[in-house]
């Protein structure tokens, strides 16, 4: 057993020191009928590194690797290039095998990194402060709604139709138990309804917050200023959700447009796809709300010799101190993913993030132009960053599957995202990042063209 250092001889010596005859004597508190006598028989015994590796490789071979095919999927998780040094740094044992920095004198590495992360996130989202991370964007979004209830002492949250449907689902799950009232609506493909006007109209005195995604689930980017003003007028908070933080290199931040709380999914930067997790939730807000924030916060201080150092702070908000009065039940967050995010952000810097964002936008525009040149394919999205929605002449679910059968991962059908809404079935959400090559766009467009014209490519 390669991970267990004790020898039988040592086990014997230790039992003698303890003063018992056998290991069973240490399990005396377990009722006899619940004690297993030998290894669980339905499960196999231990395996060598080679055997485990063989098994994993066989399973992995049954998946289509995003990086090996033309790839256009987004909808809340984006495939970006992660520099080699990011993965190297997060595998350093001093980061990888450290715990939450409860003992600051021997955790300055993690703490300084978190302080830098908080600064990067706050600047990127345009907020005064940011926390040391949440589980992911969807749980950050719910925590923001919950925080708005605590601040405004009101219970009605208005979620714009552009919020990721899975984020809306998470909020609905929680609201069912907390008694929050969620005002939700679905996006449309026809562009005839003025969604912003409807959103503005629904804000009233009962409203605790308005939740807007930016860019939204269809890829639209809309100015948040009017919503911010209206929310302010009714003493409601504006919560902005950013699922593609690379966009912040190209467009104004939500904070700049008046958002009170900005949450996000940080996966895009440094973390990778990983089939949905672990990811890293971003959480920033105006400084005046800091004591209502969920999650860990790292703050600057000095040590007894006057040297700058960092500690976890404002922990009187948290579960280990406040128990049932805590702002959230969160304990473990997403430390190592926050490190990956922060290292990648450090490598990019101001210039890199802006350049990267423009490459994304440029490629997305190229792809949009090529795909909308196909007969019967129409653009739904107005202004966009690196993701947009097309209306196909037929149900997009079948098209996505046909493309996948040809080893092309061609976006996410709105039918999968909104199974209970027939009007959205023909929608296809397409993301284009710097990892997409011109020939990928050609392969995708040609295949789509052939499928739609009824042919077989």
């Amino acid at each position: 057993m390669r991970y267990l250092p004790l020898s039988d001889n040592e086990r014997g010596q230790m039992l003698a020191k303890i003063g018992v005859q056998s290991i069973d004597d240490l399990f005396v508190d377990v009722p006899e009928e619940a004690r297993l006598t030998g290894p669980i028989r339905e499960l196999p015994n231990h395996a060598s590194e080679m055997a485990v590796e063989r098994h994993f490789k066989a399973l992995a071979a049954k998946n289509t690797v995003a990086g090996e095919v033309p790839f256009f999927i987004g909808a809340g998780a984006y495939r970006h290039h992660v520099p080699a040094s990011v993965d190297h740094i997060i595998q350093r044992g001093e980061f990888l095998t450290a715990y939450t920095p409860y003992q600051p004198e021997i955790a300055q590495g993690t703490l300084q990194m978190l302080f830098e992360f908080q600064t990067q996130v706050a600047r990127m989202l345009g907020t005064d402060v940011a926390n040391a991370s949440m589980y992911d964007g969807s749980t950050s979004c719910w925590e923001a709604i919950s925080m708005a209830r605590r601040i405004t002492k009101k219970k009605k949250a208005i979620l714009s139709p552009g919020v990721h449907p899975h984020y809306v689902s998470v909020a609905k799950t929680m609201a069912r138990f907390t008694g929050d009232i969620l005002d939700t609506s679905l996006p449309t493909l026809d562009g005839t309804t003025d969604l912003e006007a409807e959103l503005l109209n629904s804000i009233d005195d009962e409203t605790s917050c308005v939740v807007v995604q930016y860019p939204d689930i269809l890829g639209n980017i809309n100015d948040l200023t009017r919503i911010s003003h209206k929310a302010q007028e009714y003493k409601a908070l504006l919560i902005a959700v950013v699922t593609e933080p690379v966009a912040m290199g190209a467009i104004k931040s939500p904070g700049e447009m008046g958002a009170d709380i900005v949450v996000g999914e940080g996966q895009s930067i440094g973390v990778g796809l990983q089939f949905g997790g672990p990811y890293v939730g971003l959480f920033g807000c105006k400084a005046k709300y800091v004591r209502q924030m969920p999650g860990r916060l790292c703050g600057e201080t000095v040590d007894a010799e006057g040297k700058r150092g960092f500690v976890l702070t404002l922990s009187t908000r948290e579960q280990h101190i406040r128990r049932d009065k805590a702002t959230s039940n969160i304990c473990t967050n997403s430390g190592l993913c926050a490190l990956a995010f922060s290292v990648h952000m450090t490598l990019l810097g101001e210039k890199g993030l802006r350049d990267l964002a423009m490459v994304n936008h440029t490629k997305a525009v190229k792809a949009a132009d090529r795909l909308t040149s196909i007969e019967g394919v129409e653009m739904v999205t107005g202004n966009f960053f690196n993701e947009f929605t097309l209306r196909l002449p037929t149900d997009a679910r079948a098209i996505v599957q046909q493309l996948a059968d040809q080893q092309i991962l061609g976006g996410v059908s709105l039918g999968r995202l909104y199974p209970d809404s027939d009007g959205l079935d023909n929608g296809l959400v397409i993301a284009v990042t710097e990892t997409v090559l011109d020939e990928d766009i050609e392969i995708f467009a040609n295949a789509l063209e052939t499928i739609l014209s009824g042919g077989v490519s």
Partner: protein, 527 residues
């Protein structure tokens, strides 16, 4: 004789960086001390022009950003790759970690993180797949989730498992929401969750987050749940209990089966906090004790790295009574095809699910690591894991209880962690001084002041991946520091003396929080 000889080669403890031969304080121009290197913030090192990534230059196009183009600078600092690697490497050296030594943080299970697990998680077929890929293109990933689920169900003796919760506290929430959904489904609204006073803070926080009122159940003098007090409080308003087993005092709850039966008889349901499953894995199945839900911290029992505070992963095993309410999405298998049940499939299957807890399918990167760990150990190895974890903890308990008060040590063995109190230390000395003394000895301290039921609690969890040699060294240091605290050794009050930082001013940090870096001119202007 010089200082070095007096100390037999060990560093001096009291003098720090004072050269005692002439009383002159030794310092360096840089402020560094050889390999102890300070490091500025990236914002102080980098610039807005520097970039550590080469990015393609594109032909300019007509923007479709609709007038929302960014004009203001973001305010980020960039470093070249060489500077970046150096920055983080220097920072890393200011951290304690399992890779450096024994990490006896009770209840946190800081065991060795096998590197095979890291390698498995990085196979492109798992690391580079998107959660929204068509189901036919991720069959291997779903099979892996199903396989891990099978292990977790079999090891716990439970019929179902919800895989999506993102960490332990998220798993608690999953279990409590399932309990609430099950009770509501039978038209039985109940308002109270009972939690023992020794519980981890996430338990009451979770129950409150889910809309329940929390009431505490006292502990007995033996450190167990007071079953009589619990039975007396049960009634039609009690939705359930949250019991940690083994509990936070490091003790098994011998009456767990009885507690489950009492709660069930009163119409409630039983949540078991599985944070300490490491003590019994492979030897005891919680399902045999009558529980309805239990989360498993994959980052504790199954050794996915703690990463300086996450990511964790908290799958929740469920009883027949709760299984129908499990969250979306989940994996099912029909013939040879693995299906991911999301909103679409649950609509057509008329499911009772309480809904979705997170955007995607859970912590896949942790599932791969945990399965790699579990397969490596197998049924025989996992049994050995719990046995060695318990053996190591009892070895520490019996190697310390002559110098340090072990409040429950007289009643019998502990499980995977040994609990001590600060009774008998000199006036003015407390648990924190022992913690900081251990830092100077080269160890991460144990969990301190938790559980709350013991005065000045010190909760020591060595885990099964420590050798006898490592334990003996730790015990030597621990005894030494305890004796210092009993003798009133004043140097201990200022410890740590040899860490990258001396004691940090946490009060000042909370009074005037500085949570982000500001350019010096802005910082000054704000004052």
């Amino acid at each position: 004789m010089n200082q070095r000889d007096l100390n037999q080669g060990r560093p001096s403890r009291i003098e720090g960086d004072i050269d005692t031969t002439n009383g002159r304080k030794l310092s360096t121009f840089s402020g560094n001390k050889a390999l102890m290197l300070d490091e500025p913030l990236i914002f102080e090192l980098g610039s807005r022009e520097t970039c550590g990534v080469d990015i393609d230059v594109m032909e300019p196009i007509e923007s479709r950003l609709g007038g929302l183009e960014r004009h203001q600078p973001i305010g980020l600092a960039g470093l070249s790759e060489s500077e970046t690697v150096r920055h983080y490497t220097r920072l890393s050296r200011q951290n304690y970690a399992i890779d450096l030594g024994l990490f006896p943080l009770g209840s946190c299970t800081m065991k060795h993180n096998p590197r095979l697990n890291e390698k498995m998680a990085r196979i492109a077929g798992f690391a580079d797949i998107h959660p929204m890929q068509p189901i036919s293109t991720v069959q291997g990933a779903l099979e892996l989730i199903d396989e891990l689920a099978h292990w977790l169900k079999t090891l716990t003796g439970m019929p179902a498992v919800a895989m999506s919760p993102k960490a332990g506290a998220h798993g608690e929430l999953c279990g409590i929401l399932a309990i609430r959904a099950a009770l509501e489904a039978r038209g039985d609204a109940r308002e109270v969750i009972l939690v023992p006073e020794s519980a981890h803070g996430t338990n009451p926080a979770t129950a409150a987050f889910a809309g329940y009122r929390v009431e505490e159940i006292p502990a007995t003098e033996g450190g167990r749940v007071d079953v009589e007090a619990l039975a007396a409080r049960l009634g039609p308003d009690v939705a359930g209990v949250m019991i940690t087993n083994p509990n936070t005092c490091g003790l098994f709850e011998p009456d767990m089966r009885k507690i489950s039966d009492l709660v069930h008889a009163a119409g409630g349901l039983v949540y078991c906090d599985g944070a300490n499953f490491n003590a019994i894995v492979g030897r005891v199945r919680p399902g045999d004790l009558g529980i309805d839900a239990m989360h498993i911290n994959l980052h504790k029992t199954f050794s996915t790295p703690h990463g300086g505070g996450g990511p964790g992963s908290g799958p929740v095993v469920l009883s027949e009574a709760l299984a129908p309410y499990a969250p979306l999405p989940y994996v099912t298998k029909s013939s040879d095809f693995f299906q991911l049940v999301e909103e679409e499939q649950s609509l057509s299957e008329d499911s009772d699910t309480f809904g979705r807890m997170t955007a995607f399918h859970g912590q896949m990167g942790m599932f791969t690591r945990a399965l790699s760990y579990i397969m490596s150990h197998g049924a025989d190895g996992l049994k050995q894991v719990s046995e060695d974890a318990v053996l190591n903890a009892n070895y520490i308990l019996r190697s310390m209880d002559d110098v340090l008060d072990a409040p429950f040590g007289h009643s019998g063995p502990c499980m995977h962690e040994a609990l001590f109190s600060d009774k008998g230390l000199a006036d003015g000395f407390s648990t924190i001084n022992i913690s900081k003394g251990l830092i100077d000895e080269g160890y991460h301290p144990m969990t301190m002041y938790f559980p709350l039921v013991v005065h000045g609690a010190m909760l020591v969890e060595p885990t099964e991946t420590e050798s006898k040699h490592a334990l003996d060294n730790f015990i030597g240091s621990f005894r030494h520091v305890v004796n210092q605290a009993k003798e009133g050794d004043q140097s201990l009050l200022q410890a740590p003396h040899f860490a990258p930082r001396a004691r940090l001013d946490e009060t000042a940090a909370a009074r005037r929080p500085i949570l982000v870096w500001n350019e010096p001119e802005t910082a000054q202007a704000a004052e």
